[in-house]
């Protein structure tokens, strides 16, 4: 199994997530892009961790990343729901009350 392909896969997932975050205006699509980027980081950590079956730092770090991603999704979605109740839209470009 070529090791480089794993890193290519991680890079592709990260860039696809970045593209989704940059080009979409809906807040939920932005969250989906962030989840993709977190998964790309996990792939890289576990790919390198598989060469060290004793210490396993990479796997433990990826558990923490998954936990933080879950917390981030819960808080983010609750904020989006509240923003939708207030502004009647989830479009990030129309939520511009703070713009001077």
């Amino acid at each position: 199994m070529p090791f480089d392909y794993l890193l290519f896969l991680g890079a592709f997932l990260f860039c696809a997530g970045l593209f989704v975050v940059v080009t979409r205006k809906n807040a939920i699509m932005v969250l989906i892009g962030i989840e993709l980027m977190l998964n790309a980081a996990n792939i890289n950590l576990i790919a390198f961790s598989s060469y060290d079956p004793v210490a396993l730092q990479g796997q433990i770090f990826s558990i923490f990343i998954i936990t933080v991603a879950a917390a981030e999704a819960a808080v983010g979605l609750s904020i989006i729901v509240k923003v939708y109740q207030h502004f009647k839209t989830a479009d990030l470009d129309k939520i511009n009350e703070l713009k001077g």
């Binding site: 199994m1 070529p2 090791f3 480089d4 392909y5 794993l6 890193l7 290519f8 896969l9 890079a11 592709f12 997932l13 990260f14 860039c15 696809a16 970045l18 593209f19 989704v20 940059v22 080009t23 979409r24 205006k25 939920i28 699509m29 969250l31 989906i32 989840e35 993709l36 998964n39 996990n42 792939i43 576990i46 961790s49 598989s50 060469y51 079956p53 004793v54 396993l56 796997q59 433990i60 990826s62 558990i63 923490f64 998954i66 936990t67 933080v68 991603a69 879950a70 917390a71 999704a73 819960a74 808080v75 979605l77 609750s78 904020i79 989006i80 729901v81 509240k82 939708y84 989830a90």
Partner: protein, 175 residues
């Protein structure tokens, strides 16, 4: 070609194709469903790399938790009246330049680092099942970080309920 290589390519293809679908589709709900496929493909790659516990956690947390939250979020933030829940892309050119430029940069870096030439990459890596070692490490060396991450999760869930729920005044106004 070995069997493990074929399995790796199958899961990699699932991941890449469903990610491309997320990038290309306009429908938010279809993107969320394609995200399930992406997570399952990534979990397969984790099993392939000898991280079974992470793979199961990935499916439990992402597919069982975050995806459900996302679908509920889509339901609550769109008026589902015959219309499809679409979110077209904007600034495609700039987005493509930024993401593509970063991708080319990362690929060049990976190719130049030339990991295959490193000694520890080529040594035998077959670890039958690292779950026992993983549990021992998590509960001894990293137990403080483990407890703190549990506390963070508790705080985040309480905060999420507090933010999304109605305050007492809003609840009284609604009556």
């Amino acid at each position: 070609m070995e069997t493990s290589n074929i399995i790796f390519y199958i899961f990699g293809a699932i991941t890449v194709l469903s990610t491309l679908y997320i990038v290309l589709t306009k429908n938010i709900l279809y993107a969320a469903f394609a995200l399930i496929l992406t997570f399952i493909g990534v979990a397969g790659i984790f099993i392939f790399l000898g991280a079974e516990f992470i793979a199961v956690t990935q499916i439990l947390v992402y597919v069982g938790g975050i995806l459900i939250l996302l679908v509920f979020g889509i339901m609550l933030t769109n008026r589902l009246s015959e219309k499809k829940v679409v979110s077209p892309s904007y600034n495609k050119l700039f987005g493509f330049v930024i993401a593509g430029g970063l991708f080319v940069l990362l690929i060049k870096g990976i190719l130049q680092a030339n990991f295959s030439a490193l000694g520890w990459i080529n040594q035998e890596t077959s670890s039958p099942s690292g779950i026992r070692e993983f549990g021992m490490t998590l509960m001894t060396d990293y137990v403080l970080a483990f407890e703190i991450i549990g506390l963070l999760l508790l705080l985040a869930l309480i905060g999420a309920v507090r933010i999304a729920g109605n305050t007492r005044k809003e609840a009284e106004d609604a009556i």
